[in-house]
Every structure is written in structure tokens, then in C-alpha cells.
């Protein structure tokens, strides 16, 4: 249904070149699936999402790549076509901060009614009924439909934003960290509702988060982003249980799991890559304990390892070794204590 081919996104910086926030992403999403997009902040998750729904900041653009949605290339559409035919109707978005998504001078209900009526030919009363029904489904008191955004708590605003995103039965919903700022009880409720409604209206969802446990809880597939690229993509089971990319392995070990009694957290040393002038070779090499000379010189190409499991790593075929080694704290610590050696390798 959605197919991205070699998508690049750049932000022009005043006089300082450009930030290559997304650097060649190819990924596809089928109907009725939830795709989780995880990665550190700055890895390009939000940028990719905004590129799809064309809400990039003014200085951002897509210089290369195709975003195919139901057989049309979205990059070819004019802004007007996109606004009237795609956004909200077909693809909708729940932004990172819901409060900012609403206009403070109109009531929440009013904004949902407006959204419905600009895209569909229904009466005001009908639209209102639909908004109330959505509120009900999301567990907000329908009586509060005439409240202004500031009267809502963070959790309610987030749910109201989801109501707005669902109002036109879109086929694709992009939710950018919809629950990051919320408490677990509300987070759980929102994610369950999102999942239920998604199944009810048979749409697909791209859920952006940095919380592995959230994605593994409700997603069907996971794509791991690093430095503007999708470095690993597979179904949830595979990513959680049999990951092949060292970065995914690292993330998994860095995350405290409520199930574990005696977990040894292992952090990934180093800092995210430079996106202004991305160097040759694997973007993760400076932080990767498994980096070889090849890694520093040659950018790994995506390769498939069984049923839709795509990995960008030269050593992905050594899964067993990587998994074993990544579990040892020393593997990652060595890297931290010997940065010079790494730097020398870089110079070669």
C-alpha cells in the first residue's frame, strides 16, 4: 500500500550546508498493519513521517526518492492535490505534541467537525455525532466536545488528536510518539484504543517511538532507524528475538525490561552520526564493536535474510556470534576505552 524507494530528506541550513536527516530509505507497508519505527532521537523518524504527509519544516525537502501510495507517487502531486485528496482523507497524523496540533481559539469539537466537513459532504449535526462517537470510543466524555484545547489534560488532548486523525477513516495513520509524555495507564489505554480502531476501520499505522516495549506490544513489524537509514526491518518476533544488526542488539540490551529480575543494562557508547556530511561506510561503525575495515569504507547495502527480514550490515550473516558477543558488557566497554584505535582505523 505504501512503498518508499530510496527516499532522501534534507534540511537546508543557513550557510552551513544541509542536514541529511533521511538518507535513502526504502521500505514498504501492507494494508492493515502496524509498523513501529524506532531509533534514537535525531535518527530521522519524525522527518520521514513528515515527508510522507508533506508537513516538513520550511527548510526541508525531498530531493530524491519516490513515495508511492496506492500506486500514485505522492512526490508528484501538487500541494493542492495533496491537501484535498491525501492529507486527513487518506493519510492522517497524530503529532508529537497534541496540544500544538489544535488551534487554541476553536473548541476541539469544532475543529473535528470542520475537518470532517471540509472533506465530506455531511451536515453539521452528522459530523458532530461522529465526533461524539469518536470521543466515546476513545474514552473521553462526549460532553467535553465543546471544550477548548487548553481545558484538556495532556492525555485527553492526545486522545482527541487521535479522534481527529481517525475522523475521516484514513487508510494510513502516522502517530509520532503519541504516548511518550504520558503515564503508563493512559498510554496503555491509548495504544489499545488505537489498535482496536485500526482493526475496526482496517487502516495501517506507522507508530513512531523510542520505546521498544511499546512497539513490541502492539506492532506487527518494526523498522529500526539509525542515522537517517532503516538499518533493520522485519516482523516483531524477529526483531525482538533474532535481530541481526548490532545497533538493534545494542538497543535491546540498553532497555530495562520489567519482566527481567536481574538485568545488566548495557549502553551503546558514542554519539549519533554527523548528518551534515555523512562519511563513507557504515554510519554505525564508530560505535560498533564489530566494525571491520570494510565497514569503515563501504556502505552496507540492504540484504534480505529470510522472509522480509532486511538488514544493512556487512556482518549480519554472523548472527550467532554477534548475539553472543553483544550480550557481554565488555564487548561494548572495550570500545569506550579505546577510542584512539578506532580513530586510527578511520584514518586508514
Amino acid at each position: 500500500m505504501l512503498e518508499l524507494t530510496d527516499v532522501h530528506v534534507e534540511y537546508e541550513m543557513e550557510g552551513d550546508g544541509s542536514v541529511h536527516a533521511v538518507n535513502g530509505v526504502s521500505i514498504s507497508l501492507e494494508e492493515n498493519k502496524i509498523l513501529g519505527l524506532i531509533g534514537e532521537s535525531g535518527s530521522g523518524k519524525s522527518t520521514l513521517a513528515k515527508a510522507i504527509i508533506r508537513l516538513l519544516a520550511k527548510n526541508g525537502h525531498v530531493p530524491e526518492g519516490a513515495i508511492e501510495y496506492k500506486e500514485t507517487d505522492l512526490t508528484e502531486l501538487s500541494d493542492r492535490e495533496f491537501r484535498t485528496e491525501i492529507r486527513w482523507d487518506e493519510i492522517s497524523m497524530v503529532p508529537q505534541n497534541a496540544m500544538n496540533g489544535f488551534d487554541p481559539v476553536y473548541t476541539v469539537g469544532n475543529q473535528i467537525v470542520q475537518a470532517i466537513r471540509t472533506h465530506e459532504d455531511v451536515s453539521k449535526g452528522e459530523a458532530r455525532e461522529r465526533a461524539r462517537a469518536l470521543f466515546e470510543q476513545l474514552g473521553i466524555d462526549p460532553g467535553r466536545i465543546d471544550d477548548y484545547p487548553h481545558q484538556f489534560s495532556g492525555g485527553m488532548a492526545q486522545r482527541a488528536m487521535i479522534a481527529l486523525a481517525l475522523a475521516l477513516d484514513p487508510s494510513l495513520i502516522i502517530a509520532d510518539e503519541p504516548t511518550t509524555a504520558l503515564d503508563v495507564v493512559i498510554q496503555d489505554r491509548i495504544l489499545q484504543t488505537l489498535r482496536d480502531l485500526q482493526q475496526e476501520i482496517e487502516s495501517s499505522v506507522i507508530l513512531i517511538t523510542h520505546d521498544i516495549s511499546v512497539v513490541s506490544d502492539i506492532c506487527d513489524e518494526i523498522a529500526v532507524m539509525y542515522g537517517g537509514r532503516v538499518v533493520e526491518h522485519a516482523d516483531v518476533e524477529t526483531i525482538i528475538k533474532e535481530p541481526r544488526h548490532p545497533y538493534t542488539l545494542g538497543l535491546r540490551n540498553a532497555f530495562p525490561d520489567i519482566e527481567e529480575d536481574d538485568q545488566d543494562l548495557i549502553s551503546i557508547p558514542g554519539t549519533p552520526p554527523d548528518l551534515v556530511e555523512p562519511p563513507e561506510g557504515c554510519g554505525f561503525a564508530p560505535r560498533c564493536p564489530f566494525a571491520t575495515d570494510e565497514c569503515w569504507d563501504v556502505t552496507p547495502e540492504p540484504e534480505e535474510y529470510g522472509d522480509g527480514h532486511v538488514v544493512e550490515c556487512h556482518r549480519a550473516d554472523e548472527q550467532e556470534l554477534l548475539t553472543e558477543e553483544a550480550k557481554r558488557k565488555e564487548t561494548w566497554m572495550d570500545l569506550e576505552t579505546e577510542p584512539q584505535q578506532v580513530a586510527e582505523e578511520a584514518d586508514d
Binding site: G270, P273, A343
Partner: protein, 309 residues
């Protein structure tokens, strides 16, 4: 940042010191850039510098003593002579050289302007800091005083005070400061109210820092840009107030000032005829006040990047 990890120590510290250096350079060059791109700010700086120069060197530059009475060749008092090569800006009703008076008068404006503004902002900043920081009844009382200061009508207040304390330049300066402090008190207070909610204040309290330390070492540096900005505007107002007071005849009779020059021209009925006596003083007030305003405006743009575009 990622480069940092891979560098040996000595290179790194060099990197840092050069970074600090370049940061300072950056700061200076943004300020410079703004001045360059902002013609009015540039104009302000040049004009202000010129007036400060004149104020300092007035006795040396002035062709005559400002009080000296000049006589014409025929021995009569050079009353209201039009500009000539002897007297570039003509003479007054008493035969005094206008240019010399004009130059010497710059001292009062610059002196009163800066000192009154400094006193006003000093008081205002401290009132704002203390009021906002302690809150409660301290705030209630100080802010009521500010409200009262806002209620004071400028002229009657000045007349009464000058009448009571006498019209000397120091008193006038204090009176102006007494009017001007209220603005900075208000803005500083509201800024401190927001600053004191910031977690860094809690960090300071947690290590046992005294209130004094928190106020002056932690909060104050964060309101300093605002204070400087209000200082610039206060200077402009102080100059204007001083000129108005003198023009109305409540000024210090022992010092020359632009306001007093215009007052004298007015009382001698020369305000319509002897343009050379009135106009230069008026132009000087206007130039000095607007130069300070323009500098303030440019400062505002530097300290508040949101309005830069």
C-alpha cells in the same frame, strides 16, 4: 561531538579553547553583524559616541566660555546676533556664544541621562528581583509601591520635589530616577518570576546556596540582558525628562543645559526670531534621545532573537 571521542587529549583541549574563543568571536560578530545590517543602530552608536566625546572635551572644544558676554566692534552688547564667523551659531540675548553653550550643555544631558538611568535601573532591578524572589507580602508591598509610582503625575511631582529640595542638578537627577525605576521593576519582576521556576534555582538551593547568592549569582545573570535593554531606554527617557524640566524653568540655574537654553530663549521672547538660539539645542536633544533609542532597539533584537526576523 563525535569527533571529540577520537582525539588525543592535547588536541582536544586545544579544540575546546579554540571553541570558546570562537564562541566569543561569534557573539561579538553577531552583535557586529546586527549593527551593520541595522542602519539605525549604527547611526545611534556614532551619534552617541560623538556626544560623549563632546561632553568630555567640551571646555577644550568650546570657542569661548559659555557665560562670557561678547561685545560688538562698536562696544555694544552682542545681543541676539545672527551666526557669523566669530559666533558660528550666533549669540543670546545676553551676548553669550550659543555654540559654546551648546557644547557645554552636552555634559548635563549625558551625565544626567546615564546616571539617572543607572540609578533607576539599579533600584528597579533590585526591587524586581527581591519582589519576585520572595513573593508573598514582600511582593505585595513592593508592587503596591510600584503602582503608586505609576500613579504619580510627572510634572506636579517634579515641581513639588524641586520646590522642597531645591533645583540643583543632583536633585533633578534623583527625581528623574524616582520616576523611571518603576518600569524596570515591573519587567525584571516578571522575568524573575519565570526564572525562579527554572530548575537551576532549585539546584542552587539544594547545595545550600544563600538567598543572596541565588539572587545575584544565579538569577541576576539571567535577567542581565533585559536590564541592559531597559537601561538604554531609561537613558533616553532621562535625557528627555531633564530637558523638559529645564525648559519649564525648574532646572538648575547654575548649569548650562539644552533645556535651559530653550527656556531662556522662550522667556526672552526670542523663540520665534532667534532660530540659532533655539534650533541647535532642540536638534541636539532629538539626536541624542533617538540615538539611544536606536541602540536600545538594536539591543532588543540581539537579546530577543525571536523578533529578529
Amino acid at each position: 561531538m563525535s569527533v571529540k571521542k577520537h582525539l588525543p587529549a592535547n588536541v582536544e583541549s586545544k579544540l575546546t579553547s579554540s571553541r570558546v574563543f570562537s564562541q566569543i568571536k561569534d557573539g561579538v560578530s553577531t552583535a557586529y553583524e546586527l549593527y551593520r545590517s541595522d542602519r539605525l543602530g549604527q547611526f545611534g552608536i556614532v551619534v552617541l559616541a560623538a556626544f560623549v566625546f563632546i561632553a568630555i572635551f567640551a571646555p577644550i572644544i568650546a570657542p569661548y566660555s559659555p557665560g562670557a558676554r561678547h561685545r560688538r566692534d562698536d562696544g555694544s552688547l552682542a545681543r541676539l546676533d545672527a551666526p557669523s564667523t566669530d559666533h558660528l551659531l550666533g549669540t543670546t540675548h545676553h551676548g553669550q556664544d550659543v555654540l559654546s553653550q551648546l557644547l557645554v550643555s552636552a555634559r548635563v544631558s549625558v551625565f544626567v541621562g546615564f546616571l539617572a538611568a543607572f540609578i533607576a535601573v539599579f533600584i528597579g532591578t533590585n526591587v524586581g528581583l527581591i519582589s519576585a524572589y520572595y513573593g508573598g507580602w514582600v511582593d505585595d508591598i513592593l508592587m503596591r509601591i510600584v503602582d503608586i509610582a505609576y500613579g504619580l503625575p510627572f510634572l506636579p511631582f517634579v515641581i513639588v520635589l524641586v520646590f522642597i529640595f531645591g533645583a540643583n542638578i543632583v536633585n533633578i537627577m534623583l527625581v528623574i530616577a524616582a520616576i523611571l525605576w518603576r518600569d524596570s521593576a515591573r519587567v525584571v519582576r516578571s522575568e524573575v518570576l519565570s526564572q525562579k521556576q527554572r530548575p537551576y534555582v532549585e539546584s542552587a538551593r539544594a547545595i545550600g546556596a544563600s538567598d543572596f547568592r541565588i539572587l545575584y549569582r544565579h538569577v541576576f545573570p539571567n535577567v542581565l540582558p533585559l536590564t541592559v535593554l531597559y537601561m538604554a531606554f531609561a537613558v533616553a527617557y532621562a535625557i528627555m525628562y531633564e530637558a523638559s524640566i529645564a525648559f519649564l524653568g525648574f532646572g538648575d540655574p547654575n548649569v548650562y543645559s539644552w533645556g535651559r537654553m530653550m527656556y531662556q530663549a522662550y522667556t526672552h521672547g526670542a523663540i520665534r526670531d532667534a532660530w540659532w538660539w533655539v534650533l541647535p539645542a532642540g536638534v541636539c536633544i532629538m539626536l541624542l534621545v533617538s540615538s539611544v533609542f536606536f541602540i536600545g532597539r538594536t539591543l532588543e533584537e540581539i537579546t530577543n532573537p525571536e523578533i529578529r526576523h
